[in-house]
């Protein structure tokens, strides 16, 4: 089945130790997003790729980086995780389908998330 896959599902790292989270998709969607979600909060968009074009949110800390080597894969790198970076990290995809108001333009498909613990 076509889907969005995130690995690992749970990641434990030490304070300051770089960590990479992985997302892959079989949907062939143009856009891949990374969200941070803390407990009882809405997902917060960190950045996204439209094809190879990277779009960073203004308030995303420099500590967070992303790579998209091809259509299927996208990585989130946290260079020096702090205690405040402990959260669920959600990857999502969408396929803007030409024409701004067509149904499906914005629908996002989320992966299961990676829960990051920082010790």
């Amino acid at each position: 089945d076509a889907m969005v896959i995130q690995n690992p599902r749970y990641q434990v790292t030490q304070f300051g130790k770089p960590v990479t989270l992985s997302c892959s998709q079989t949907l062939n969607h143009n856009v891949m997003y990374w969200y941070q979600q803390k407990s009882s909060q809405a997902p917060k968009l960190l950045f996204h790729y439209y094809d190879k074009d990277f779009n960073n949110e203004a308030d995303t800390p420099d500590n967070f980086q992303s790579r998209r080597p091809n259509t299927s894969f996208c990585f989130l790198d946290i260079r020096s995780p702090g205690l405040g970076d402990a959260a669920m990290y959600l990857c999502a995809t969408s396929r803007p389908s030409g024409g701004r108001d067509l149904a499906g333009w914005h629908t996002q498909y989320f992966g299961p998330g990676t829960r990051l613990t920082v010790l």
């Binding site: 809405a42 968009l45 959600l90 701004r100 914005h106 996002q108 989320f110 299961p112 998330g113």
Partner: protein, 111 residues
């Protein structure tokens, strides 16, 4: 920038009671979507509304999009324990494929 407010933040209902969550945007939206996140899970797309005044139903769930395309609601009739979770609205602006999420309404259903 665009802001999407959602109320209430929490709702506890007795099984069988109805439930409604409301969403308001600071700007006119091109579309609004609703997602459900079960405890420990990830957001799952429920529905998208794009037309002014649109009403869509999915079994016991009724979704509405306001005439001005700035507000929306989700109503669940006769809640069941399987309805437990957090319901998020997410608004899309014209010409943008990004979504602005509301803070969500966490629904608890007491058996």
């Amino acid at each position: 920038g665009q802001q999407v407010m959602q109320i209430p933040q929490y709702q506890h209902v007795q099984e069988g009671e109805d439930f409604t969550t409301y969403c308001n945007s600071s700007t006119t939206l091109s579309n609004i979507q609703w997602y459900k996140q079960r405890p420990g899970g990830h957001p799952v797309f429920l529905i998208q509304l794009v037309k002014s005044g649109e009403v869509k139903k999915q079994k016991r769930l009724t979704f509405q999009f306001g005439e001005a395309k700035k507000n929306s609601s989700l109503h669940i009739t006769a809640t069941q324990t399987t309805d437990v979770g957090t319901y998020f609205c997410a608004g899309g602006g014209a010409g943008s494929y990004q979504l602005t999420f509301g803070k969500g309404t966490k629904l608890s259903v007491i058996p």
